[in-house]
Amino acid sequence: MPAPSIGDYALIGNCRTAALVSREGSIDWLCVPAYSSPSIFAAILDRDGGYFSVRPKGAFRAERRYLPDTNVLETTFHVEGGGRLRLTDCMPLPAEPTGEIEPAHELEPQHEILRRLECLAGEVEVEVELAPRPDYARRRVGFARRGRLGWQLTGCRFSAFLQGEMDLAPDPGRALLAGSARLRAGEARALSFAYDNNEAAVLPPLGDWARRRIDDTAGWWQWWTGRASYEGEYREQVLRSALVLKLLNCASSGSVLAAPTTSLPEQIGGERNWDYRFCWVRDSALVLHAFLALGFLEEAQEFLGWLLHATRLTWPELQVMYDLYGETELDEYTLPHLSGYRGSRPVRVGNAAHAQLQLDIYGELVATVAQYVAAGGELDPTEQRMLAGLARSVRRLWRQPDQGIWETRSPPRHHTYSKAMCWVALDQLCRLKLVADRDAVERECTAIRADIEAHGFDAGLGSYVAFYGGREADASLLLLARHGYCKPEHPRMVGTYRFVTRELAHDGLLRRYRTERASDGVAGGENLFAPCSFWAAEYLANCGRRGEARALFERLLGCANDLGLYGEEIVADTHEPIGNFPQAFTHVSMISAATALTVEKTA
């Protein structure tokens, strides 16, 4: 049986790792102890990759939702014969001394997946299967009964337990733990999968305590969401995006992950399958904007702190991406034993793009800092010196060809967007008064702009082009207005919008570039790139074309799954999410477009 559609998955997490839960109640992706650790459940990438399934026996129809303003997932199964079963899934969060929620002061496992079943009507027989496959399914484990403490995984270096309020037994032939229970209306059962990496296992109690911990977790998320100051339009969808962003916001470092998954393909059967469990400098300006726009100042400060800390390791140059803790070695390799999502091979771990030269990231980082300062943030002298060092790197590097924002694996080119972001970097550093030789930097800015206008603009097309000497469109050029390189209503920007949408739009939604023409060094094509369509909506809002912006934005809202989650891309024909899922870049682009629409309306 093939893996469910990508849009059939929901995300739960505890801000240290995250799991994908299918509409049918199967947890098909979980990495422990951290987001970018090897998986223990990877059925989404290979049906024998490990899973934790809870579902009714026989045919059923499922509907689901997140409890309001939380990341607690509730799936309701409607079973043949009138039975109705509710499954509540969450990764409990340790109670925080928030002043509103009483801390528990009791031990919690390092990670826990808590699943509570409640029969709402009729009688429902429930089947449970736990098939752990640690280390990307390269290891098999056994099971040992530990009395009333439940079942412990054996043959592994970590501690993992499954406790369940039902009979479970190993099925050695299938290397899993299975059980079933018949529930009548009003009856409930809980299951807890607890993980501890290198200390004695902590086993939380079930029964009423399970329900209470779900309530506490929901309460924590509602407390967090309640801190949002956003009062603009599309509030419900914007807060859902904020909740996704928080799930990808690593509590122990402040970094924001691009996505919690690896190798969910950009096209079914294609080889454009990348590991996104890292932090891209490219995403930083939009991430910070999202936190600031929604009033999450603490998260914004922590994120900027991580960004400036991480980039010190490669200072005065920047790397395209860093891991959660700022590490720079992200070597890429494939996992040939995994068949890939619906046969989409290879499955990659690590990301070779980390060693590429991408000049746009200098502008992204400085634009992020500029937003922070504009919001009242302050930079210490070390940070100021570090940023001044970036100016020297930009002045030295901007004339070089690079791989561009899309990390092409073809020979480097002079990408127009990269040059423009070099201009943004120097321009913003001058405005922030962080460069010692301001006159020289301003002359360099003038030189970059002259270079772009001479080589990156095609008078015949009336548009900026993807790279010097070419006549290709690139959706990243829509961001030139956002970053202040060109006013939205400037004829060159208007022409660029027209050219980009003419060349890249499919049924009104955008690709990032034409893979068949761009020779990006990877075989196959891809679908529509979700963030680019939000950039188009934001551009339209910023140049006063409100009706068009709103229409496009509302169409894009329809491209999320039923829970409001977006992948990296959108399937051209069905408009379903595809690619790594859910994708922070898409969600922050959505928030940015929504805030632009709100500002535009206010104006």
């Binding site: 270096r157 200390e199 004695a200 296992a201 305590w209």
Partner: protein, 162 residues
Amino acid sequence: MTEISVEILHVLLWGLIATAAMSGIQFGAQYLGYSRLSLPFLIGTMFTGERAAANVAGVVFYLLGGWLFAFIYYFIFASLEHGGWLLGMLIGLAHAVILLVAFLPLLPYMHPRMASEYEGPSYRRRLQPPGFLALNYGYRTPLATLVAQAIYGAILGATLLR
């Protein structure tokens, strides 16, 4: 400074060094995935359910325990009028055996946060018990404990009785 004071400082210094070496081996075994036994964590959780506070308190108590046992080793060497790394190592191994077969299996009856396989976890009792030879914390745990305690004893044996 009197001779006794010098001797006490000497025991304290080498007790600290031996405890650090023993801890290093145990932490190393933990982080290499050979064992999940952390005595500081088990000791600390007797006093608090907050993981960070438990680890800090546990390290303090563990260090105090390391000093206390350094004095006990000293008195053993003094009563035997003999020291040396080999004798120290043998005492350390005996110490490890007592820990593994007596102290740790009895811990669930003394530890307020340790669960029992007969009763299951409760609101407060959530820690998995170590079991026979602390094998519940990884099958290499006895080996790691024996090596750590042997090194502790060997250092004290080699240094305490001059």
